[in-house]
């Protein structure tokens, strides 16, 4: 664009400085203000869902108390840790860019990407487990305690996404699997060419893709531990939970057991509060009760996961550029801006985790 006007403008314009800026400082300030304003729009974007959460929680507190027991706190806590660590690597990456440490920057970006991928793997375990149990958005939600309803008869949702011949988790692994194979093939071809920078990028991407499966593995381990603990408590537990568990697939038993204890407390509290008209467990365990909680859960965590995916795309772009050594003391803006975005996505999760998993 600027070559034909180079004579009139900017004899001393370095290549990283866009033609319409006077100096690197102006360019950096513009970018920084721009990303902060973008983050403000992101906060407002999420604010709609936080409002919906606050509104429905204040109207139906017992629904949220009941339904949140189906969420696996350990998985949530693990993911929180993963994201916090990724924020550290991201911040470290910004410092590396400022000091022109090419290797350090590439390493930090790769680690950040790997953390993001682990997060999504764990999330995949959480999501698919709930889909298997029928813990779905309001319209498709299956009551967990109604004896009359077949627990896995959720035809409408199947119609929507096709008959499930494989488990949800297997289906979700198809695309990441293909991506992994693609990156592996790319790494193989770069190994042949022996270009170090390409090998770095391809290797990082392959590790990132594999980290998704690592996340799934970790998620499954946590899930199994939870199930074992649940089975243990079922043995000693009350009759209601034991009979209930008979109906269920073993994959589903863990959350049912946790919920069974909630069920018990719920029934107790229902007994004590019948006078003031607190809703019964049957009223809560409905499409318009717990189903609404899961609607909000999927919207908030889903939109957050999309932001993680978006972040991974820009991080990959940064990784490619970092491997080419384009960032230095005068020009590290893009790393800084993506870093700010990444911290915001992290911060939103810091709010989502207690709101959805912890407050009971």
């Amino acid at each position: 664009m600027s070559h034909d006007h180079a004579a009139d403008h900017g004899h001393d314009h370095p290549s990283f400085l866009a033609h319409h800026f006077d100096d690197p400082e102006q360019q950096f300030d513009a970018g920084k203000l721009g990303i902060w304003i973008f983050l403000v729009t992101e906060v407002l974007f999420f604010s709609g869902m936080f409002c919906a959460y606050a509104l429905y929680r204040s109207r139906n507190p017992e629904v949220f108390t009941f339904a949140s027991t189906f969420l696996n706190t350990k998985l949530g806590a693990f993911n929180t840790g993963v994201l916090l660590f990724s924020s550290l690597t991201m911040a470290w990456g910004v410092r590396c860019a400022q000091l022109r440490q090419r290797g350090g920057l590439v390493l930090c970006l790769a680690l950040t990407l790997i953390c993001a991928s682990i997060f999504l793997g764990v999330k995949a375990v959480e999501y698919t487990h709930k889909w298997d149990m029928g813990l779905l958005p309001a319209h498709f939600y299956l009551s967990q305690y109604a004896q009359t309803i077949e627990h896995h008869d959720w035809a409408p949702f199947k119609e929507l996404v096709g008959q499930a011949h494989m488990t949800w988790l297997t289906k979700l692994c198809i695309l990441p699997g293909l991506i992994t194979i693609g990156f592996a093939a790319w790494l193989f071809s770069t190994l042949k060419s022996k270009e170090r920078r390409k090998i770095e990028v391809a290797g990082s991407m392959l590790l990132t893709a594999l980290a998704f499966f690592g996340g799934i593995g970790i998620g499954r381990v946590f899930q199994a531990a939870e199930e074992a603990a649940a089975a243990h408590s079922t043995d000693h537990g009350d009759k209601h939970a034991a009979t209930d568990a008979d109906h269920k697939h073993d994959a589903a038993s863990a959350d049912h057991a946790t919920a069974a204890s909630a069920d018990k407390t719920m029934l107790v509290s229902t007994d004590s509060q019948t006078k003031i008209g607190a809703p019964s467990i049957e009223q809560i365990d409905q499409k318009g009760g717990a189903g609404l909680f899961f609607s909000i859960y999927y919207c908030m965590t889903g939109v957050h996961a999309v932001h993680i995916l978006g972040g991974m795309v820009v991080l990959t772009w940064l990784l490619v550029r970092a491997s080419k050594d384009v960032f230095h003391e005068q020009y590290f803006g893009p790393v800084d801006y993506v870093g700010l975005y990444w911290h915001l996505v992290d911060l939103i999760w810091i709010y989502l985790f207690p709101l959805l998993y912890l407050i009971r």
Binding site: H20, G34, T41, L44, G288
Partner: protein
Amino acid sequence: MSGSATVQAQNASDNYLFNTKGFLSWALTLDHKRIGMMYLVGVMGAFLLGGILALILRAELADPENWFLTNKQYNQVFTLHGAVMVFLFIIPSVPAALGNFLVPVMLGAKDVAFPRLNLGSFYLWVIGAIFFLVALLSTGLDTGWTFYTPYSTQTSGPVVAATLGVFILGFSSIFTGLNFIVTINTMRPPGMTWFRMPLFLWATYSTSIIQVLATPVLGITVLLLAAERVIGIGIFDPKFNGDPVTFQHFFWFYSHPAVYIMILPGMGIISELMSVHSHKGIFGYRFIAYSSVAIALFGFLVWGHHMFTSGMANVTVIVFSALTFSVSIPSAIKVFNWLATMYKGTVQLNTPMCYALNFIFLFTIGGLTGLWLGTLSTDRPLHDTYFVVAHFHYVMMGGTMVAFLGGVFHWWPKMTGKMFNDFWGNISCLVVFIGFNMTFLPQFVMGSRGMPRRYATYDPQFTVFHEWSTYGAFTLGLGLFIALGVLIHSLLRGKQAPDNPWGGATLEWQCSSPPPYYNFHTAPEVNDPYNYKPLTYRGEKGWEYVRPKPSTVPQQPDQVQV
């Protein structure tokens, strides 16, 4: 700039319109002026489409019975008329089309801060428009442009396509606003202090703040509505204990401030036009500047006035009503300052000024009738009647659209380098004025007599009002076609425009018409944007800047002269 004529001659080949050629040089351009021109063509196309839909509606309403539209078709046509006009025309009209062209030039910058993002916004607008056309050409959307639940969760219309279109258009608007805020904050040249900025920039800045703060909420609202339709989240659906009124709150939290996205830039245009065509400094510069910001901020607190009859606590209703009145204060400040600007000025009734006067008349009616709707006792009977329809058409069309046309005429010589036929421009303004009032004044009367909006058929007692309204609408259409004809004629036959045809003192009149690729060959001299004393009329050459004698030049360049 005394040597501007020679500068212009030297660089006749270097103007942004012709410095590069070919389709791709426009489609992939990063030049804010070309992007602005592409927007201009786009929004005018959308306006034509929305206008044709409006004429179809008015034709149907000429008769109390369904004479060529069924009720369902009528619903689809008014939905698309509203959605196309709001999302594709009014919101991007001034900020995206004129704003893109003018903001950097008025500021004295080479471009907006993020030219790639700017082009991206334009393509988001195109993609969003395509979604709307899909909705138009498929089964037809019949929810009204407001997408109210629970109807929008049940209708068979293409709600998901339309909401995704709104979502995409929303991000187009956000990125434009973001670009302008950053541009105005970080790209001002030396000497361009905040209070030397033309008032159009203050208005654009305030608009951008609303775009950035309100539009994301619309984004998540329509996304939740789409999720409601696709995966049945039920939060707006009473069947699942969801609350349809929540949707209205979310929707109006954006859509009331959006009214100011539509009108504030129009007010910015009027501030420029009033001053330049009266050849007199603007009266109350700071008041107009601050009132723009005040409108932007107050605008966030009044969304509930759209929902007085939807069910809210009595206290809430009263608070929203009171806050709504507070918005009229900054709006009135602007109107009084414009009138005071004309007082003892040398008013020239050329086309842009006629449109500006037209704006003041129509906007004042629109604003004053808004008070009826903000008053609780009168809103109950007037809610959802033609009174509301007339009110917002006076503000949106009589306000924004007329200001937009005035702005297009005012900056047309700068944008295209061609003068237009002023006589026929004035005729178009007169026909628009007559047609507009003929269309919408009867609607106030029938609305206050109880004619509800959004019906294809009506009680025969309203026939006479509807007939006049229909005649008026076609007259208005004629006026707009004359305006279009004047513009096209100027492109084909227009005389070469001088650099400063009106005698404006803002920076865009210092560069050639049309401007070069980089806007300014030499750094522009930043002065008081409303000081007309150094300008002298030179006939065909337009107005020229004569440097004041050295003794009268202010010694400190940063000193504010208002």
